[in-house]
Amino acid sequence: MLKTFPKGGIHPHENKITASKPIKRLNPPKVVYVPISQHIGIPSEIIVERKEKVTIGQIIAKSGGYVSSNIHSPVAGTVTKLDKFFDSSGYKKQCIVIRTDQKDQSNFEFIDKPLKTDIQLSKKDILQLITDYGIVGLGGATFPSHVKLNIKKDKHIDCLIINGVECEPYLTADHRLMLEKAEEILVGIEILMFALHIDKAIIGIENNKKNAIANFKELTKNNDKIKVAALEIKYPQGSEKQLVRALLKREVPKNGLPLDVGVIVHNVGTIFAIYEAVQYNKPLTERVVTVTGKTIKDPSNFWVKIGTPVIDLINEVGGLPEDTRKILNGGPMMGKAIKNTDVPVAKGTSGILVISEEEAERKKCTNCIRCSECVFVCPMGLEPYLLMNLTEKKMYEAALNEDITTCIECGSCSYVCPSHRPLLDYIRFGKSIIKTLEIAKDKK
């Protein structure tokens, strides 16, 4: 029996059309737009000026506080603009625009560095490097990693979970990384286990990535500290809380963190970034991005420099198809629709998905027929139909009592609703109102 979480979940079409495409390197883009808020928390502070020359990996914006992160230049070139541009949030955000120096050789060095297995640094140094090199969670939440790793004395951590689930349809970035950089990821895991004094790690992978599971199993067969677990294919298994429940049968308490049940969860991409930062002093300036869609000519996986405009990637896969009506930053379940093709790739961009005419538009919403599907599929045990009703009627207090704030926004409810009701839209709206109300209450 494959492991999984017990309550809720859905089975959307996987559409992992790029699963067998190796990750390709691209020439650096002519211009990069590096947003200064690519992570959850306080935006970074710009420390470069217009017309300043920057080298690859140089800090261009430094951490703006504890829950924040450094940002490094992905290319060598000249800062041309410091201005606001649309990013994947749909708002104009401050970006640092850098024109790539086409003559600078460092922009074209793509040699894959050899595997480096011995860990030479002290625990303190390792954590410092992770802080300095701007590592954030690459699974999509982009939570600064050093905050996650800074564990208070009273918490006891006994297990490190590596999230290789990639339950979002279409996306294969983590899958390819696990196939191509498996040994590096294992070293990354060793580094974290060493730095955090943990002697047990589990790599959780959904069973639609059998080759990745087999690969890791082969590599860890003489290692009794790192286990590989195959998981049943079910969305949203990649959600931290669901994954911890699936692998360890531990339930993260309401409004709590995996830390509360002695677990720390990191995405495989993050682990690889940590490996590179610690072993090769490489800041986080690039990541794997799946560029895909049913209408795309040559869907592929790429190593992409942070700040690359989406249009550059779309041109690499055969251009934007005629009937494109929606472009997503991320997968179809949790990804964000972007405003135009100039939006840059950020640290949290795991895929670019192009959606054509027929799938882009939402269907007309009809009356709720109380079929209970949303209640059945909610992995958090909530009642989405009720939360939507309460939000619609502005009964925020009641919605709060019905645990609206514990919603993980996986979208399973909206996905199954036979009446096409915008359940998650309303839940998000209710959550945001409650947040502002609570802030108001705190101020009083």
Binding site: K241, R250, E322, N367, I369, M380, E383, P418, L424
Partner: protein
């Protein structure tokens, strides 16, 4: 890039291919076997009753939406069609046409539209229509044409009581179950549907096929039918074991009086049943209990419709108190 503007919307951006309309038509499909059996058993009467009920339900919904509410007309969503079929299934096949029309008006006009239309009704519309007719016209509503004798007759059909009606009357006149066993159809006839009764309630095998289809298509879950039938068999079983001469055995109760139709098609009505599986079990237990109480101790031989309507009224309360367990609400977890 197409000339049409790009769409910005919040996630999720994909949707399962389920729609409310498909769910409704799945139920309609599931009712086809039972309808075919009723055509065979009751003949043209079954066709007339069903056609009249369906047409008048659709018509009333159309008229109310268009002229009374001046709102969008949604009669093609399948729900009025379904109400019509279910109403017909709960009527004798020789009911006067005007009564069917009155029943449809009550079902659609009173039970559904006055509550706010699809999704807002508290009571199962088809059952409200039937119960209204049963209380208003008790004579016509309990004169069931006998099976397999009246396929082409409409007006002066030979009528008879249902198995449960025969038992109830017989017991009141001091007969024992042994005396009565020769008067009621055998179990196989009841299973196949060759007995008197409402249009769609008699053929157990056809209803079971439809019910399993609904479970297979995930339109309904097993919780309501199984709990309801199990409750009924346990309680009637206890009474039967105490005194088999005074109480019919559980099998007779399950095979007659619309228990199967009620369990798979009426109680499971999405709109009027609870939202959680726990709630569904409580709801179905209540229906089973009330049905048996009415059948054994009430004035009516059959009690499924009343039981479902009574429990429909409890659904909001059940939804309030039987909630899914919230993730992470366990106070103790393994490590803490």
């Amino acid at each position: 890039m197409s000339t049409k503007p790009i769409i910005i919307s919040a996630s999720p951006h994909v949707h399962s291919d389920r729609t409310s309309k498909k769910l409704m038509y799945d139920v309609v499909i599931a009712l086809i076997p039972a309808f075919l059996v009723s055509l065979y058993v009751f003949g043209i009467g079954a066709l007339i009753v069903t056609a009249v009920a369906v047409i008048s339900c659709l018509l009333f919904e159309y008229l109310i939406q268009k002229y009374l509410l001046k709102a969008a007309v949604t009669i093609n969503d399948g729900s009025a069609l379904l109400t019509g079929i279910l109403l017909a299934f709960n009527l004798p096949s020789n009911l006067p046409i005007w009564m069917i029309i009155v029943g449809s008006l009550v079902a659609i006009g009173v039970a559904k539209m006055s509550f706010g239309g699809l999704g807002f009704n508290i009571f199962n519309p088809a059952l409200v229509g039937r119960v209204f007719l049963l209380i208003s016209f008790p004579v016509q509503m309990t004169m069931w044409p006998t099976a397999l004798e009246n396929q082409i007759k409409i007006a002066d059909a030979v009528t008879g009581a249902t198995p449960l009606g025969i038992i109830k009357e017989g017991l009141q006149f001091g007969e024992t179950m042994t005396d009565l066993s020769s008067k009621i159809p055998n179990n196989l006839d009841m299973f196949l549907g060759f007995t008197g009764g409402s249009l769609g309630e008699m053929s157990i095998i056809a209803l079971l096929i439809g019910g399993l289809y609904l479970i297979y298509k995930k339109v309904i879950t097993w919780h309501i039918p199984v709990t309801m039938l199990f409750t009924m068999s346990v309680i009637t079983g206890i009474f039967w074991m105490i005194n088999p001469e005074q109480y019919a055995n559980p099998l007779i109760h399950l095979l007659s009086g619309g228990a199967i139709l009620g369990a798979f098609f009426m109680a499971t009505d999405l709109v009027t049943s609870p939202m959680t599986k726990k709630g569904m079990v409580i709801f179905a237990f209540g229906i089973g209990l009330i049905t048996v109480v009415i059948r054994l101790f009430g004035a009516y031989p059959e009690g499924v419709s009343f039981a479902i309507i009574i429990m429909n009224a409890f659904v909001p309360l059940i939804n309030k108190y039987f909630k899914p367990r919230r993730f992470g609400s366990k106070i103790k977890s393994k490590i803490m």
